[in-house]
Amino acid sequence: MTNFSPKSRSNLWRGPVYLSLLSLGALLFFIYQKLASGRYTPNFAAHEGVEFYDLLDSVGSDDGWQREERVLFCVPLRDAEAHLSMFFGHMRNLTYPHHLIDLAFLVSDSSDDTMGALKRNLQAVQTDKDSRLHFGEIEIFEKDFGQSIGQGFSDRHGFAAQGPRRKLMARARNWLWSVSVKPQHSWVYWRDIDVETVPPTVLEDLMHHGKDVIVPNVWRPLPDWLGNQQPYDLNSWQESDGGLALANTLDEDAVIVEGYVEYATWRPHLAYLRDPYGDPEVEMELDGIGGVSILARAAVFRSGSHFPAFSFEKHAETEAFGKMCKRMGFSVIGLPHYVIWHIYEPSSDDLKHMEWMAQEEVRQEEEKKSKELYAKVWGSGFEDAKDEWEKEKNKILRNADFADRKKIVVDWSGADDFPEQPPGKLAGFDPKA
């Protein structure tokens, strides 16, 4: 018969248990490695011109700035010289680590010195004493597409010009991202140059939602006489039955554009859902989006979603990009209460009105001056004699008062007695003579 004490038993087993636990741990670690990052990674460090990338490293996370995730910042430019300094003001203020931001510019069909101004501004940032301001890789591309449409606000925003214009802009956008997206990019951010007010944390603000494609609300300030502010970007919307019904009536190459009475779609627009006191974190599902400020995972573009330069589901460019992303199963989100502000560019009607206002101001100024002058002339030329007359009238009337005068009696008898004239003879007058 044996009589083990518990203690001696554990002593006996301790060695093998530890050993097996250790080997089990090693096995689990091995399996985890295999599952987590686990695939084979070749090493080409010694070979010039050979690169290996695991695309899983750049799928993008919602706290990318803490994980060294690179953002490709795409900016299409055309006749943008005037706005560049404002734009670079915003760029300097970006809080996302600058060395993780790669810039890609496309300069096309410009008649002003966009290229020169761009290079000057870039040089200024990249040679700044504060190295934290320096951006990562910067690529400037030049490509002219030829354009039949003028660049005035009303030329660009007129109804008839929209279809061809949007297709042309889509081509430009595709040329920009398709040559600049690289395997190491996790996010792609699109930004128009003419944004006036934007939080410096805009990248983090959009990224932390962790969506595939996300856009803020875009408004613009207005002069007082136009009501202070107005939604700017009407391309961010949710599809409606009205929109789908309209699409069915149009031919294959037609392009529906929002914000024009010609196409009444009754779609809910992101812009109109803004509440100035609303929670900026609120999200809204979208189908079409505008291009002023888009943050998208680079994987969205790598998967082939792009800005269709043809009519895709009756849309083109950014709106069709939204539609294509949805079609490919990506999330497309808008933030109704998170707003960035576009600059105010007056339309030709506005310009006419402003010209009229300017002329009116001059006219009123002149009118005021001439009124003063008239008042002076009238004042000195025509003295007021009323009071004086009141005084003098009494004196004159007093002189004309006969009440206390002595009555004079005159005897007029005999004054009408004339001597008899001989008859038939008129005194001293003969018409026949």
């Binding site: 695939r39 080409f44 799928v59 803490q66 790669d102 400037i140 040559v179 690289k182 792009h306 043809f310």
Partner: protein, 365 residues
Amino acid sequence: MVQLKSPLLRQIRRKPLTAIAPITLLVVLVFLFFRSSGSQKLRTYSYKSKKSGFFNHHRDVIPRNLPGDHISHYDLNKLASTPMAAYNKERVLILSPMSKFYNEYWQNILTLTYPRELIELGFIVPRTAEGDVALKKLEKAVKQVQTKDARFAKVTILRQDSESLASQKEKDRHALKVQKERRANMALARNSLLFTTLGPFTSWVLWLDSDIIETPHSLIEDLVSHDKPVISANCYQRYYDDEKKALSIRPYDFNNWVESDEGLKIAAGLEDDEIIVEGYAELATYRPLMAHFYDAKGDINTEMALDGVGGAAVLVKADVHRDGAMFPSFPFYHLIETEGFAKMVKRLGYEVFGLPNYLVFHFNE
């Protein structure tokens, strides 16, 4: 002792607890007020690094070989795709999605006569054990070539981010049911490869499947000389004919086709998310297939206009891709992957051609 004059203060001094209610009310009001106005205040974020935990492997994402101020300038107006490609020093990007590495494929690439310093290679391997095997073989092959003087301008190898279908066996691969999923995944692989390797120097993109093991050595020069936006070679396969007791050839890729009335009729009757694929009895489209137009005695330069292409050996002017032509991973006019690509090319206003008498050969499994 100081006499407290205010009855309020006296009250608080006598019974301090009675002050709690009004103070709480005040705090709540202040809180509510500041919260509503504070919603427009800037968010604050932490910038502490979270990278490289114990299990995560280190990643090298810092761009190398940057100019001093990091600024480079490319004039894409000067970029051209001409029939005199080699003379004009135009860069050609050869792209191959690779789930298996065939040595014959690699040897064929090495015998291409187009100047190697003008060729860039791009590969994407699936996220599978099979992909690992292919990657190791490819790594070895690439390392051998890229140390020599006559090396390729650039080689980019990618690992696909999405999970691939596990099985790539011949039988499963062609079952109609798995076709859609398989080809959608293939489309994603092609797009991921294309849009990370296409650069500001690229004039031409040659899609060459990794199981194409034999082409004319002058493949690039030949296809380029036609000066077409998209041009596809005819893909055949060598096999041993048991009846004739001799080596023979047979058509392999049926995705190069001309649209038919029947095909359009079938498409009109399909749901939005359904696709048509060639080579299945269930979907008799009666489309004229380029594979059947091969004439052994015919002129090798004969061209025919196509509506659908296969991806076996297709040369594309890079501008077409830059305009947005990609491989739809979703049903695009009921077409997917390379066939959807051809449709998109046409929607963008370009034409698609095939060379029925110009053969490339597929591996025989």
